[in-house]
C-alpha cells in the first residue's frame, strides 16, 4: 500500500453520481451517523475503546496531583493529548503535525476544554498548592473518516467512566492521603455538560461559479463522512451542540460556501442526533456501573456515605 494514494477519477465520479441520485455508497441516509460500538474497561476506570463504524480509537483518562497555575489557584488542570500516528492511516506523518491533525486537535479542544465541560473548580484540593490534573489521551487506531466526532464522543465517554481516587486532607492541610481504589470508593468527575460534535461534508454537483454566484442551493451535504467521502468532499463544517440547546462551537475552515439558511437548518436538525448520543452515553455508563456493582457485590458493603 502506498502512502499518498489519490482517489481514482473513476471512483470519484461513481461516488458523485451516486450522490446526485440520492444514494450513499454505504447505504446510509444522508443525515445518518454510523452507530458507535463502545467497550468500557472492566478492570480500570477511564479507559474506553470506541468503534465508530470502522474508525477505531482508544481513549484513556488519568489523574495526578500537581501544582495549579499561578493565576488560577482554585482550578484544576485539564489536558487533552491528541496525536495521530501513521497507524491509523499511512498518510499521517509520525514526525510532524499536518494541517488536518492540528484542526482535529483544535476542534476537540474547543469543544471540550474551552467550553468548560469538566468542572475545574471541583478538581481543587488545596487552593494554590495541590490540584488534580486530568489528562486525556486520545489514540487513533484506524481512520475511516471523522476523527472529530468519534474523538469528542470517546472523550466524553471516558470522562464519564473515569473515577479519581478518594483523598483525605490531614495535618490541617499539610498532607494529603490518596486512598487506594480498594480502600475507598473512587469519586466520579464532575461533568457540567456533554458536548457532541457533528461534521457535515459538502459536495457541489454543479460547477463552481454557479455555486458562488447563483441563488441555487443544490449543494449536497452528508453527515459523518467515511474515508472515501472525506477525500472527495469540497468543504465541511463541524457543529458542536449539547443537550441544553447550546451551540458550543462552529467551525467552517474554508471550503465551498454554503447558504446561511442551510447552516441554520443543519444546526436545528442536529439537535435530535445530539440528544440521542447524549442519552447513549448516559445509558452505557449506567449499565456498566450496574454490572460493576453486581460484580463487586457492593450492595452488601454499602455504607451510606454521601460525598
Amino acid at each position: 500500500m502506498s502512502k499518498n494514494i489519490e482517489v481514482s477519477t473513476n471512483e470519484k465520479t461513481y461516488f458523485l453520481e451516486a450522490l446526485k441520485s440520492g444514494i450513499r455508497l454505504d447505504s446510509r441516509a444522508f443525515d445518518e451517523i454510523r452507530q458507535p460500538e463502545i467497550t468500557l474497561s472492566k478492570k480500570e476506570y477511564g479507559y474506553v475503546e470506541l468503534d465508530w463504524g470502522t474508525t477505531k480509537l482508544a481513549v484513556r483518562v488519568s489523574a495526578e496531583i500537581r501544582k495549579p497555575y499561578e493565576d488560577r489557584p482554585f482550578e484544576g488542570l485539564f489536558m487533552i493529548n491528541c496525536e495521530i500516528s501513521s497507524m491509523s492511516w499511512p498518510h499521517f506523518d509520525n514526525q510532524k503535525n499536518s494541517n488536518d491533525e492540528v484542526l482535529i486537535a483544535r476542534i476537540i479542544e474547543k469543544a471540550i476544554r474551552r467550553s468548560n465541560s469538566l468542572d475545574l473548580e471541583s478538581l481543587c484540593i488545596i487552593a494554590g498548592e495541590k490540584v488534580w490534573c486530568i489528562t486525556v489521551d486520545l489514540n487513533f487506531l484506524n481512520y475511516d473518516g471523522n476523527f472529530i466526532d468519534a474523538g469528542c464522543f470517546g472523550v466524553m465517554l471516558a470522562l464519564h467512566h473515569f473515577k479519581k481516587p478518594d483523598i483525605s486532607i490531614v495535618n490541617g492541610g499539610e498532607d494529603i492521603i490518596v486512598h487506594d481504589v480498594n480502600e475507598r470508593q473512587p469519586v466520579p468527575l464532575s461533568v457540567l455538560h456533554v458536548p457532541v460534535c457533528l461534521t457535515y461534508s459538502f459536495y457541489n454537483p454543479g460547477n463552481k461559479e454557479s455555486n458562488l454566484k447563483g441563488e441555487d442551493d443544490d449543494e449536497i451535504y452528508l453527515l459523518d463522512a467515511n474515508l472515501l467521502e472525506e477525500q472527495n468532499r469540497e468543504g465541511s463544517i463541524v457543529i458542536t451542540l449539547n443537550k441544553n440547546r447550546e451551540l458550543i462551537q462552529l467551525s467552517k475552515n474554508g471550503g465551498i460556501p454554503i447558504n446561511a439558511n442551510v447552516l441554520l437548518e443543519l444546526s436545528f436538525k442536529s439537535m435530535k442526533i445530539v440528544d440521542r448520543l447524549t442519552e447513549k452515553i448516559k445509558e452505557v455508563i449506567k449499565k456498566h456501573e450496574a454490572e460493576r456493582y453486581e460484580e463487586l457485590n457492593l450492595r452488601l458493603l454499602e455504607v451510606g456515605a454521601d460525598r
Binding site: N99, L103, E246, N253, G254, P257, A260
Partner: protein, 242 residues
Amino acid sequence: MELYSPEGLRLDGRRWNEIRNFECRINTHPNSSDGSSYIEQGNTKVICMVQGPMEPTLRSQANANKATIEVNLAVANFSTLERKKRSKSEKRMVEMKTTLERTFEQSVMCNLYPRTVIQIDLHVLSQDGGLLAGLTNAITLALIDAGVAMYDYVAAITAGLHDQSPLLDLNGLEELDMSTLTIGVIGKSEKLSLLMLEDKIPLDRLESVLAIAIAGSHKIRDLMDNEVRRHGNIRSSKLVNN
C-alpha cells in the same frame, strides 16, 4: 463598566449594529509585492502582501490542475496589550492559516493558474478583536490589487451575543466577555465561506447573530469596493490618453 448600557450604547459609544471605523488602502507596497493592502478595523491593523501567481519554490507544491495558495501569518509581538512572543507553529495560528488557505482556494479562480503558487504574507500590527475577519478582508483586497482572478469579494466581520442582544463588530474587550461569531461572506450573497464560533451561544439565538453579521459583511464589502474603485480611478486617470 457595562459592555452594553440600557440606553443601547457600547463601551466605545457605538450602537448594537454599528461597525468600527473601517479604513483600507490597496497597493501600499507596490515595489515589494504584486499586490498589497492595509486594513484598519477599529484598532486591529493588518498588512497583507501577495506574491504571485509564481513558480513554486518546492516542486511538491506544484499542482497540475490549479494554483496552490500559501498563507504565512506573522503576528507581531507588540500587537497585543502585553508583549508576548508567538511561535508560528502554535495551534491557533495553524488553524487560522489553514482556514484562510481553504477559504480563498474557493473564491480564487485557481484553475486559471495551474502549476503556480500564490503566496500571501500577513503581518498583524495590532490586535483589538476581529483578527480573523481583518485578515480575510486584507487578503481579499491584496488579491484584487495583484490582479488575481476571483469570483467575488470575501468580506468578513464578527458579531457577538450579549445577554439577549446581538452586537456587531466586537472589539477586544467585548470579545473577551462574550461569545464571538466570525463569518466570511461571498460578495452580496448570503453564502458563507468562513465560519468560526468559539464560545457558547444558545442555538435559538444563532439566527439573529447571523443576520446582523451578514448585514455587516455586506457593508464591509461596499467599503472595500469603494476603495478599489477609488484606487482604480486614480490609476486610470494617470494614463495618458491619446
